[in-house]
């Protein structure tokens, strides 16, 4: 299936492999497919997959190969020819691997997982998979893997750096003595952070809520997340596979830290990636040198949840700018206050062309920003705008959320008001060299309550309410040189359903897949009517999952998955949210979120 007539399918290079730095090896007993449930360009941009590719291929006993979701044209071609979905490295069918691992970073990729399993010749239900590969999942969605629990043999909770290799080693040992699926899963369940869903049975109350989650056959009551404590000791990508075709993040990406100390109450990443772990400036500079040498990339960018908070940002920025100026490698730095950089770096920054400023006030009023603990003041925003406008920025992108707990009309008006004042502030900047006004985009997303956050008990606004708010904002944002766009609320609604959903939703996903749902996050593929039908035919009301406020005593479907955050801490944060009370950055003192207890936190917990 690797010969394509002209124009037969879009971008055949997606399916060819053969890129620079792609790994070829022979004789490894464990074959590990690293799958990403989206197209090549998206999957190739995912840093976590690149890290696992490196770690697994560094093991003598494992050959990790990449598999991405074929776009619908290629999927149809495979299905028509009865040919299986294959890996890029060896052109090996998905069903001929020992472990098939999926990255789950987005709820709306679940149907694409089923699409890939189906095309790969692997039964969708884990219970029907005798003689087939072990299907594993990891990534941020496994905070609540229950809606897809029936499709997976196991999940890795938390950081995958160590657990992926352990699974591979376990597979090698089991293959040696004659592989038995049940025996393998029972031993896998003993690995830290490995969750084998078939060893747990949820029981339900008459009202549909969960009464208890029963651990079977000696499986642990709680599965604690894995944590890469020392990022400097964790392997970093130094020879990334270099794609031929342009991908989403087609540059050298340096992960400068993991976790965030800000404690925004809506932000799941801010909770599940705790504690903050930084990589040293020295390690990052060395990594950058190796990546640039191995790829020839002409751009370096920094990756983290909040790069401006990295303690060595000034030193790192200065060193990168100095080292790469001559090599004509550009360095993209976080938008932040120039005065937070040392003077010599600030001077260099003046010469870095800023293409655009991105800022996320998240809410339109200080009151609501206090509720969500977004510790940004209007002065911060205007300062960033003034700096950006002064250094030649052409565009300003502002991110807001609607439907946040306690939101009123005033908060929505605040969004429009803030956009107008930002535009006025930007217009004050000297216009030398700039032809047009600075273009401002106001981008609005609908709030999705997520597990392991203080808002996980909250109801999402109904679709009608969200559409109403969007219409209201569209009217109010008819402002010259301000553009308004929004995230499809129907997608946000489904995200909310699956984010806190339970195992009964797997029936819905099976029906959605059967009716052709795939690439749901792609506008031209998403078909909400198919989901509506899937819910209806399964006798499941999605609103019960998305729009229902939970009792504080309710047992969540994911209550056995332990990210180290104390539920009482989250309840206290929820209370403070309603009181409009802030929680300061935990670098300024421990807030006792729970991670300090088992010495998991290295942020100075317990002080």
């Amino acid at each position: 299936m690797r010969e394509f007539a002209t124009g037969e399918i879009e971008k055949p290079a997606r399916y060819m492999g053969g890129e620079l730095n792609c790994v070829y090896k022979k004789g490894a007993p464990v074959l590990f497919a690293l799958c990403f449930p989206d197209i090549y360009e998206v999957g190739m941009s995912h840093l976590g997959s690149a890290i696992l590719y490196k770690i697994l291929n560094a093991r003598e006993d494992t050959y990790a190969q990449r598999v991405y979701a074929p776009w619908t044209d290629m999927g149809a071609r495979l299905a028509k020819a009865g040919a299986p979905l294959c890996s890029l490295e060896e052109d090996r069918p998905l069903h001929a691997f020992d472990i098939v691992g999926f990255n789950l970073s987005y709820e709306m990729s679940y149907t694409s997982v089923l699409y890939m399993l189906d095309l790969g010749g692997i039964p969708l239900l884990a219970s029907e998979r005798e003689g087939c590969p072990i299907v594993a999942g990891g990534g941020s969605c496994v905070v609540n893997p229950e809606p897809v629990a029936d499709f997976f043999d196991l999940f890795v909770i938390g950081d995958g750096e160590e657990a992926a290799g352990e699974l591979s080693g376990l597979m090698a040992a089991h293959k040696k003595k004659g592989f038995d699926r049940k025996a393998f899963l029972l031993s896998a369940a003993k690995l830290d952070g490995v969750y084998v869903p078939s060893l747990y049975r949820p029981e339900y109350n008459a009202d549909g809520t969960i009464s208890k989650i029963k651990a079977l056959l000696g499986a642990p009551e709680k599965i604690q997340k894995r944590l890469a404590r020392d990022l400097n000791a964790a392997p970093a990508v130094t020879r990334p596979v270099l794609p031929y075709i342009a991908t989403v993040h087609d540059r050298c990406v340096l992960e400068i830290m993991r976790g965030c100390t800000r404690g925004c109450r809506f932000c799941q990443a801010g909770y599940i990636y705790r504690p903050v772990r930084e990589r040293s400036v020295g390690a990052l500079l060395s990594q950058a040198r190796q990546v640039i040498c191995a790829t020839g990339y002409d751009e370096i960018s920094l990756s983290s949840l909040s790069s401006g908070d990295y303690s060595g940002i000034g030193e790192l920025a200065g060193a990168l700018l100095t080292e790469y100026e001559e090599k004509k490698v550009s360095v993209s730095l976080p938008s932040m206050r120039v005065d937070s950089f040392p003077p010599e770096v600030a001077e260099k920054l003046q010469h870095v062309r800023q293409t655009g400023l991105t800022f996320a006030p998240e809410a339109g009023t200080q009151r609501l920003r206090d509720v969500i603990n977004k510790n940004v003041t209007e002065e911060d925003i205007f300062e960033a705008v003034r700096n950006a406008a002064g250094s030649g920025t052409r565009t300003i992108k502002l991110y807001f959320m609607i439907g946040l707990p306690t939101e009123t009309q005033e908060d929505l008006l605040g969004i429009a008001d803030l956009a107008r004042r930002i535009r006025d502030e930007a217009a004050k900047a000297p216009r030398e060299g700039r032809r047009a006004r600075i273009a401002i985009t106001v981008s609005v997303a609908c709030f999705v309550p997520k597990p392991q956050t203080p808002f996980m008990w909250e109801a999402q606004d109904t679709l009608d309410v969200l559409w109403g708010k969007i219409a209201f904002l569209r009217e109010r944002l008819k402002i010259r040189s301000v553009k308004f766009d929004y995230h499809d609320p129907r997608l946000s609604f489904l995200e909310a359903v699956f984010a806190r959903g339970d195992r009964r939703l797997s029936a819905v996903l099976l029906k959605a897949h059967a009716s052709g749902c795939v690439f749901d996050s792609w506008q031209d593929c998403f078909d909400p009517k198919k989901y509506d039908r899937a819910f209806e035919e399964s006798g499941i009301d999605p609103k019960w999952y998305a729009n229902r406020k939970r009792e504080l005593t309710e047992i969540f479907p994911f209550s056995h998955i332990d990210y180290g955050i104390d539920e009482n801490y989250l309840k206290k944060e929820l209370e403070k949210a309603y009181a409009g009370e802030g929680t300061p950055d935990c670098r300024k003192g421990c807030r006792a979120c729970g991670l300090e207890k088992d010495g998991l936190c290295i942020q100075g917990g317990g002080r």
Binding site: F4, A5, G18, E19, Y244
Partner: protein, 210 residues
């Protein structure tokens, strides 16, 4: 120094678009640590251009690009350093100095030779085509054109067709259009690019100077 570089692309690289090919060579030149010259301006890029873009899906055994270096580089060095860092499906065959005053390669294109591998025997179709005075077909935009004068040489052996096609700024024939006109789908490889010297078409690697 200006250098003319001859390369092949096979396997996966056949499906790389022209734009992506430019990026792949730019990155390879950086990895090779050759003393490339950068353009001036805010977004400096490597001064480099291809003789003739290749369509997605077409391999090559003889395509050319020119690169400008800050200082002199021996052909041998360019070949070795580039081949050490290129993906396996792209190989450098030769490299050498291009005369300072010579027109850009893309302005020197005259014709290009292709090998087209069809499913069935093409000998009769080729004979018929060569005898015809004109041969009307549709180009890729659906416009009717006469391709007969654009085919400079044509020879068939069983299912393999060898064709040299006009490839100049005046007129150019895409080999896929010829394939379509003669018998449908074919696996296409470009085998050489030619320029015109004293009325004779010569392979572009004869532009190389010591």
């Amino acid at each position: 120094m200006r250098a003319v570089v001859k390369y092949t692309r096979r396997g996966a690289a056949r499906y790389v678009s022209h734009l992506d090919m430019q990026r792949a060579f730019g990155r390879a030149l950086r990895r090779a640590k050759l003393p490339v010259k950068f353009s001036e301006g805010f977004n400096p890029h490597i001064v480099m251009s291809f003789a003739s873009p290749l369509s997605v899906g077409i391999g090559t055994e003889g395509d050319y690009l020119e690169v400008r270096f800050e200082k002199d580089c021996a052909g041998e060095e360019i070949i070795n350093r580039m081949n050490a860092v290129l993906p396996k499906d792209i190989r450098i065959l030769s490299a050498g100095r291009l005369e300072e005053g010579a027109p850009k390669l893309m302005a020197q294109n005259h014709s290009a030779e292709y090998e087209l591998v069809f499913e069935g025997d093409m000998e009769a179709a080729a004979q018929k085509f060569l005898k015809a005075e004109s041969f009307l077909t549709h180009d890729r935009k659906g416009k009717e054109i006469d391709i007969r004068p654009l085919v400079l040489d044509l020879a068939a052996k069983k299912n393999v067709l060898k064709a040299r096609l006009e490839n100049s700024s005046r007129a150019a024939l895409n080999p896929a259009v010829l394939a379509g006109a003669l018998g449908g789908g074919a696996a296409i490889t470009r085998t050489e690019c030619f320029y015109l010297k004293d009325g004779r078409a010569l392979p572009m690697d004869s532009l190389e100077r010591e």
